[in-house]
């Protein structure tokens, strides 16, 4: 049993003989008494594949319980597997008088001393030894030499990130089934979003293709702005040309009497200049009224019998 503290938080090495009183927040490191360890050589390079096989590897060894597994790759195709029942461990810690609410994280000595070939003293009677990569807790009398260093010195360094329990995660109140459900729902949501994103992208591509096709087919400019400006230009042309045709058709409908005729007709830039020989002033007035019914007369000139009118179309 050992007790030591870091600058921030106390760290306790816990054996089944632990009898200290814990009264502040701490992290604890479990002795091999709390979990099962096995070293295996398997024809795989991936820890997750080994984790899948872990229940069958420990088959017949473990007591009844809800076991989790942690796999550490030590060499190519060589793995160390930890099996632990966290609920059972918490029960045992409670029986040792440890207030679980003060425990932030639980580590295993196996994960902390994984890469170290060690022989350490854990208390006056017991020691920690690495035997072929597996950390074991033994009485000191079984060791050939009494270890010089104590476990406190090694664990003075920062602990690894391989904890098996975190108070924060526990406080989130998410158990295994709920976590699986949440995960499944989130994955489903991500998939649904992904499918929708693909659909939208497809629609966007379709619109771009249709636009491209239209531009190519009708020889159109690429932007709406250019189209609008071209449209305005053609609308102006359309209006002018229709107005000219309408004006000529309308003026052609004026009934000329004997000895009456058009001297000249000039059209340019939306303006029409007419010179008509008419028999009397009255006829000139009739012609003027006829034209002004439909068009705006800008200027009128009279030269004897010739009536000259400038009309805006």
């Amino acid at each position: 049993m050992s007790f030591f503290s870091s600058k921030r938080k106390d760290i306790y090495f816990i054996t089944k003989n632990f009898d200290k009183k814990i009264d502040s927040r701490c992290d604890i490191v479990l002795s091999p008494q709390f979990y099962w360890t096995k070293k295996v050589n398997l024809n795989t390079n991936f820890s997750f594949e080994v984790k899948k096989m872990a229940p069958s590897i420990f088959d017949g060894i473990l007591p009844k319980g809800d076991f989790d597994y942690r796999v550490f790759k030590t060499n190519p195709k060589e793995f160390i597997i930890l099996a632990y029942d966290i609920e059972h461990i918490l029960q045992e810690l409670k029986l040792l008088g440890i207030d679980i609410s003060l425990v932030d994280k639980i580590y295993t000595i196996q994960s902390e001393l994984l890469d170290k070939n060690i022989s350490l003293k854990s208390d006056e009677t017991h020691g920690i030894v690495s035997v072929d990569g597996i950390v074991v807790h033994l009485p000191l009398r079984f060791l050939e030499e009494t270890p010089k260093n104590s476990i406190e010195e090694i664990l003075q360094d920062r602990l690894s990130s391989s904890y098996i329990y975190s108070k924060n995660l526990k406080e989130m109140g998410i158990d295994k089934k709920e976590s699986n459900l949440i995960l499944s729902l989130l994955i489903l949501l991500a998939l649904v979003l992904f499918v929708h994103i693909l659909k939208i992208e497809k629609n966007r591509n379709l619109i771009a293709k249709q636009k491209e096709k239209m531009i190519k087919r009708y020889d159109l400019p690429k932007t709406s702005f250019e189209i609008k400006s071209m449209q305005a230009e053609f609308t102006k042309i359309d209006k002018e040309q229709n107005r000219l045709r309408e004006a000529l058709s309308y003026i052609g409908n004026f009934t000329l009497l004997n000895k009456e005729f058009f001297n000249s007709l000039e059209y340019e830039k939306s303006h029409l200049k007419l010179s008509v020989r008419l028999n009397s002033k009255n006829r000139q007035r009739v012609f003027k009224d006829f034209v002004s019914k439909k068009f705006k007369i800008i200027k009128v000139d009279k030269n004897g019998k010739d009536f000259i009118a400038q009309v805006a179309l």
């Binding site: 979003l193 994103i197 609008k228 042309i237 059209y267």
Partner: protein, 129 residues
């Protein structure tokens, strides 16, 4: 929950958030593009109609040869994309036929000048090519 699962959960949450934001963003863009495309279609269909009327479907060569068939122009020339027909002496009926034909075909008439001196009628027409 083990650490791997927690990490994976956070990863999925981040993925969902990123997908969510991206989805909202591209949905907005799609709506704008759809609206833009609708406006583009409307504007372009109206433009295509006008272009067809005043440019595309016109066959200048056949129009001009038909004008020459109605009445032989005294002078024909092209200046700055404008075809010029000059008839120094044309009968009233031919003048009417030429004008009627040009006005009915969708050519852009830039200038018309008809002058009468006694029994002589001169006609000057400028048509945009």
């Amino acid at each position: 929950m083990n650490r791997f699962k927690i990490s994976f959960l956070f990863f999925i949450i981040i993925v969902v958030i990123i997908f969510g934001f991206y989805y909202i963003n591209i949905k907005k863009e799609l709506r704008q593009e759809q609206l833009g495309f609708r406006q583009f279609k409307e504007a372009s269909s109206s433009l295509v109609l006008l272009k067809n009327r005043w440019i595309s479907k016109r066959d200048d060569k056949s129009i001009f040869s038909r004008v020459a068939n109605i009445a032989k122009p005294t002078k024909e020339s092209i200046k700055r994309g404008v075809k010029i027909f000059d008839f120094y002496s044309i009968s009233q009926s031919n003048m009417k036929r030429v004008l009627k034909f040009l006005l009915n075909s969708h050519v852009q008439i830039k200038k018309i000048s008809i002058k009468r001196k006694g029994s002589k009628i001169s006609l000057h027409v400028e048509v945009k090519l």
